[in-house]
Structures are given as structure tokens and as C-alpha cells.
Symmetry: C2
Subunit: 250 residues, 2 copies
DNA sequence: CGTAGACTTGAGAGTCATCAACGTAAGTGG
DNA sequence: CCACTTACGTTGATGACTCTCAAGTCTACG
């Protein structure tokens, strides 16, 4: 169901509440409900609420906001970032449908980063108190929460590694490709929802460097880019360049 | 109780099992048992086993090992690291008493990094299956697990940021200082259990750069170093240099 | 259209890595 | 006890990767 269809659906009077239930969500196998039985899915649905669509530039939360809930991206994409004392922006991650935001706020009980929609997006809100309570009762939910947090730890660690600009960008593209594929999209052709500047800030590069490496990759027939549209022409070689930079998830 | 005393204690026939129980562990307020009542502490003790002392260079686990348990450092220190396809070592973190190791292995169900003792060390073993089960029953334990994982996520993200060599090293020292202080040691004077090379690999710098920045800090009377022994002479200025590079925990 | 922002491309500079030599401390074996 | 070895750490010179600054191009949007 594309976004146009969703809008038509809602216009006909079906509540977003209903059409977006975990029990019939196409992302259930990637998201928190993974592996739950239908009875447990219903209990999940009992605590999940869905937000109105966010528009590009809307903030889901900001640094210092009280931590009340974890968010699951339902459609569209988000970026999370911080701004340091010198005004430099550090992008912490990009978040695709089925991925969670806000997990780093559990410990300090307030958000330590900002989250902004990169395009029109919808999210599911999981109030943290109810979520942990439910996680106490449903072992499958508990496991999945631990798994997803574990993944975030591992991914952040690989991003922290020491790699060249080419390695970083190759790994970034390969990682995006895998995530798009998992979500049923083409793994070779997709649109970047983030700007060059965002990519650069994420990979700790200058925007100019991203441009230049893209140009080099295109010259070498590894990719074809035109603004935000990108095709991976030689996934194998890109994989080789990406070396051991693991998943490059959130 | 220093390590000599511990050895004497064990020699007298008291089991390490007993003297190391969560219920009378001085690290309980930093570690998983934080905030648990005595009844719950006993249940924790029921699943925790303590290993024989590890010697410097001993590996707790290696890449590819099956994930069976989470480990809590009890004494000494560890480093976790990966080796990439080019043979470069990437240090992921240093782990002090009360901190957990192996959380990044939950998702893939096998260890994605190596963990090695930097000095004589002892650990507590928390079998993951039993730990998650207990986390289902004890909400305080569940919360603390989520908190600690959340912290790891946030810390890894800040390490991933784009900072200069001086900022990184200042933040590293400040972070260590805080962690030592939390554990009852001096926050101004301590021994580095890791080599310059390890520090460099952790901060994505060359060992020579670490040496040079240490020398510069010493010239500016920010620190005094002699081999592994270090004194922080001007914590405030170091803090200023560290800028917004948060905790620098794990 | 015309402006604004994103993106690209070029030239120069700076930080840090690399290479190399040297000094120091700890451990080994004669 | 001392020469030898080895690992670690420091210091210096050089160079490379990437950033910064700057100008120019393109697209989108009002």
C-alpha cells in the first residue's frame, strides 16, 4: 500500500488506529512484534498509538525533552542528530520503517538527541512504562527489545571505526541497500531521503568529500547518481570497498 | 578489600562464590543489581557464577564464539576489540569493574568482538537465558538492563562523532576520571591499564599522536604522565577541551 | 523568471598518519 | 650480574587524506 492509497483509505473514514495495527502491519517481522503470536500482538496494539503524519522538518523530539516513549517508524524516514557547543551538527543515524528511535534516552530519562522527519512520515508511539511492563509479561517482546538494542550497540560501534572516506561511503550505501531490501524495495535502486550534508555529517566527512567520492564511484561505474536517486551498479565491488564495516544500520 | 586480602580470604577456605555475592558486592550500585531489594539480590546470586581470575592477555571471548552469557567485570579491566580484514585492530571499549561485556552479541547470538583482560581480573558470568527470564520477573532488573544498554548506545554514538585528537583525548581522560571516581578511586590520579596503542586504536588515532598530545597537555600543565601513571592537574580545562563529547563510557 | 538552497568542482591549507630512529623499561639466559 | 631481547614509548621529518574556502552550476519553488 503506497502513501497515496493510505491517504485514500483514511479519507474513507477508516481510523489510522485500525489500519495501522501491529497485527496487520507489514513491518511486523522487522519491528518489535517480531515473532509474537496473535494474542500478544493484540496486547501490543493495546499500548501503541499512532501519530498524525509528520512533515519534512517536523521534530519528533528534541534534546532535553522528557523521555516518555520509544518510537517506531511506520513510513518515511527520520534522522537523529546532536548539535555540539560549536554549532557543528553530528548525525547519529537514519531511521527507516520498522526501526526504533529514542532507545538512547532510557538511561538519562531525557532525550540526548533530536529526531526530525526527512520526508512525510508516520510513527507508532510506544509509551515506555507500558512497554517495559509488557516486556515483563511477554518474553518474545522482551527478547526482541534486547535484540534491537544490541543491534544498535553493535552498529554504533562499527560506525565509530577508523575508515577512509571511500570505505565509509561504500559501507553506507551497502547498508542502506540491505535495509531497503529487507523492507521489500529494490536493493539496487532507491532514493536517498537525506541530503549530502546529512550523509557527510553522519559519516564524519565534509559534504564536498561525499560529492567527490560519489563522482569517483560514478566514474568507476560502481554507482549512478542523479541528485537523490541512486543506482548501485556493482554491489560486489562496493562490498569489497566497504570491507568489514558491518551493518551500518541505525 | 584489596587483591592480596582476597587471596588470603580464599586461602582460608571461604568460597569465592560466597565472598563475591551480589548481595554484598561493593559494585552493586553501578552494576545490574542496582536498586534491587535483598530478596531479588538473592535470586540474582542464584544465576551468577564467578570465574577464576583472568590473567593479562586472557581472552574472555572471541569473535564467532557462541553467545551464552553476559559478563560483568568484578575486578581489573578488559578491552573489547575487532580486527578488520586488513589486520587493523579497532578497540571498541575499555571495561571497568561493574560494567557489562557482551551485550552486542545478543542480536547475532554470537560474539562480534574479542574481549581480553588488560590486567589480572575477575568477572561474574550471567547466563543470558536465565538473565532474561529473571528480567521478566524482576522489573527492577529489567529496567537496569535497559538502562545499561541504553547507555552503551548513547556512548558509542558520541565516540562516533567528529572530533579532533585533542578533544578525543581530553574526553577520554575525563571519562576515565569519572568512572574511577564512581568506583571510589581518585578522580585526579590513576593508572591507565591500557597501552598507548590501545588508546590510539580506541580513539581512531595513531599511537604517535596520543604521545604527542599527552606531551602537549603536560607542557600546558593539564596533566602529568609517567608511563601508565597519570595525574589530571586541570580537570576544568580538560573538560573544556572535551567539549560536548558526552560520557565516553564503554 | 528570479531567488534560494543544494550540489559540484577547484585550489590551498592543516591535521594527522606514516616512516624512521632513538630511548627506556622489563624479562631472559648466559 | 650483565649482555641481549623485546615491547613500549617518545620524538622528528615527510607526506597524504580530507577540510576549508571559494566560485560556479543546477533544481526547485514561489
Amino acid at each position: 500500500m503506497n502513501s497515496t492509497a493510505v491517504l485514500a483509505f483514511q479519507a474513507k473514514g477508516f481510523s489510522a488506529q485500525h489500519q495501522a495495527a501491529c497485527s496487520n502491519c507489514s513491518l511486523a517481522q522487522l519491528c518489535l512484534p517480531m515473532g509474537l503470536c496473535s494474542a500478544d500482538l493484540e496486547r501490543m496494539d493495546g499500548i501503541v498509538t499512532r501519530s498524525a503524519p509528520q512533515h519534512e522538518g517536523d521534530h519528533l523530539f528534541r534534546v532535553g525533552d522528557a523521555f516518555k516513549a520509544v518510537y517506531a517508524v511506520r513510513a518515511g524516514s527520520f534522522k537523529s542528530y546532536t548539535v555540539d557547543s560549536e554549532g557543528r551538527e553530528h548525525v547519529l543515524g537514519f531511521h527507516l520503517p520498522g526501526e526504533l528511535l529514542g532507545l538512547d534516552a532510557i538511561y538519562p530519562e531525557k532525550h540526548m538527541c533530536n529526531a526530525v522527519a526527512l520526508d512525510t512520515a508516520t510513527i507508532c508511539v510506544l509509551p515506555y512504562g507500558q512497554l517495559t511492563e509488557l516486556a515483563g509479561e511477554i518474553s518474545g517482546l522482551r527478547s526482541q527489545l534486547f535484540r534491537l538494542m544490541s543491534k544498535d550497540i553493535a552498529d554504533a560501534a562499527t560506525l565509530a571505526g577508523d575508515f577512509t572516506a571511500e570505505e565509509r561511503i561504500a559501507a553506507f550505501l551497502i547498508g542502506l541497500s540491505r535495509r531497503f531490501q529487507q523492507r521489500g524495495f529494490s536493493r539496487k535502486e532507491f532514493n536517498l531521503s537525506m541530503s549530502r550534508r546529512d550523509i557527510a555529517n553522519y559519516l564524519r566527512l565534509a559534504p564536498e568529500t561525499v560529492s567527490r567520492v560519489f563522482a569517483r564511484f560514478e566514474k568507476d561505474s560502481l554507482i549512478a547518481v542523479e541528485r537523490r536517486a541512486i543506482k548501485l551498479l556493482d554491489v560486489t565491488k562496493l562490498h569489497g570497498l566497504a570491507r568489514c564495516m558491518g551493518e551500518m544500520h541505525a
